[in-house]
Symmetry: C2
Subunit: 242 residues, 2 copies
Amino acid sequence: MKSRIRQDAIIRMLRRNGTSTIQALAEEVGTSRRTILRDLSSLRDEGYVIHSDVGRGGGLQLDPQSIRTTISLSVPEVFALLISVAAMRAAGNLPFSELADTGLAKIEKSLPADRVKDLRALLERLHIGQLSPLQNLSDMGKIDRGLLPTFETAFLQREFIRFAYRDAKGQRTQREVEPQAMLILPPLWYLVGWDPEREGFRHFRMDRISNSETVAGTRFRRRHVPFEEDVCPYSEVLKRTG
Amino acid sequence: MKSRIRQDAIIRMLRRNGTSTIQALAEEVGTSRRTILRDLSSLRDEGYVIHSDVGRGGGLQLDPQSIRTTISLSVPEVFALLISVAAMRAAGNLPFSELADTGLAKIEKSLPADRVKDLRALLERLHIGQLSPLQNLSDMGKIDRGLLPTFETAFLQREFIRFAYRDAKGQRTQREVEPQAMLILPPLWYLVGWDPEREGFRHFRMDRISNSETVAGTRFRRRHVPFEEDVCPYSEVLKRTG
DNA sequence: ACAAAAGGTGACGGTTTTTGGCACCGTTCT
DNA sequence: AGAACGGTGCCAAAAACCGTCACCTTTTGT
């Protein structure tokens, strides 16, 4: 794993100096000419574009566009990034959505296959409404940091989610529902769940949820959540947010 | 690099089985108990949280929250993600912005130090206006894919940017300006540049820019772009978008 | 109380991978 | 022609890696 450090050093120097020779790199890094050549080869394999002028007075040049960076992310972080970009795309025109998309495609590609399937299932349950000018922008409170991971694991493992809810009138209740989808009507975010007691879909504003946790040992099936305007189970939400 | 494969296999089995012993892992992977222990150690170093119950009937358990994934991104992709999240945060309340932020912080951390300085400078020049209900949402056309990388390199290397522009009346002109900032008034995006000929700031709607390129050999200094409402050089933009 | 089953550490020698040195090739500039 | 470049193949030395063994602590079953 020491080669990684050396290769980073090479990239740094090429970036700094603009152009350089193998000799110079070898001396600065403190290794042999041969090793530098090997490192250049693997860097090129990894996608770095390094031009080389052969012959006297020649040297190496790194194409700055080809610089890549590797990041290590946790799954909630990946999910947060995914929904950020997804929401952004749906909300307004996002000029660079293509680029963001290729970034996201790479994220997907790097995940284990089963994980991708999971995320796909999750994103399918992410419903994003049109940005409406009628909304009160300052109406959204802070959302509990733990809600996203909880929703994610609950949804994927098909376990019920339990939380404390404070409704519009300020009344507090304890809920235990099947997490079915997330509804985004910027800037308001809702958790959509099936309430087995009331035998119906219910929506919960995320900033009014607290103490969320999955309920171990439970198991539900994912329901078809109708999202057409007519049968939208939270059309009242749409009205209320006006 | 063989150890990477082995460690991935270990993670996979821990994810699948929920709980497992070192013995079982060693047999399944086809290696020795000692090597598994070494791998566990380096996995823990990398940030995986693996609980271990010592004593008879004990075993290993992987904290699913700690699963990480590594991605390799190009700089334009990173920048696209950054501005996506930044714009999203500013446009509406983004519930999971904290998580997205830690993701972005990691992206920053993984970049070379000078690169971070560059990106900071860029993001400082990213001005995001409040979402206004007066805007015509369907008014934004597609933005040329190459514009972002061009703006990025031009801004960072302080080179002029040259492009073809089609103004509101449909008239086409060729421009050559100092790229100074980006202005986002969702869903409209503007490039703000100092035009040396006209000796003043000019704004250009990004979807009206085409054939953008940096002008080699030129060099400008970054100017202070006043963004206070009163002195805003594109207050007329704000009016016109109404 | 004792043995078995579990995680964890340290040391040593063999095996595999990485690295350095060398000879050599093609190209370009002086 | 010769020097200064990048690039390739080969082999021995160096370093990293891996398996074995011996041993320790904790927990649980009998």
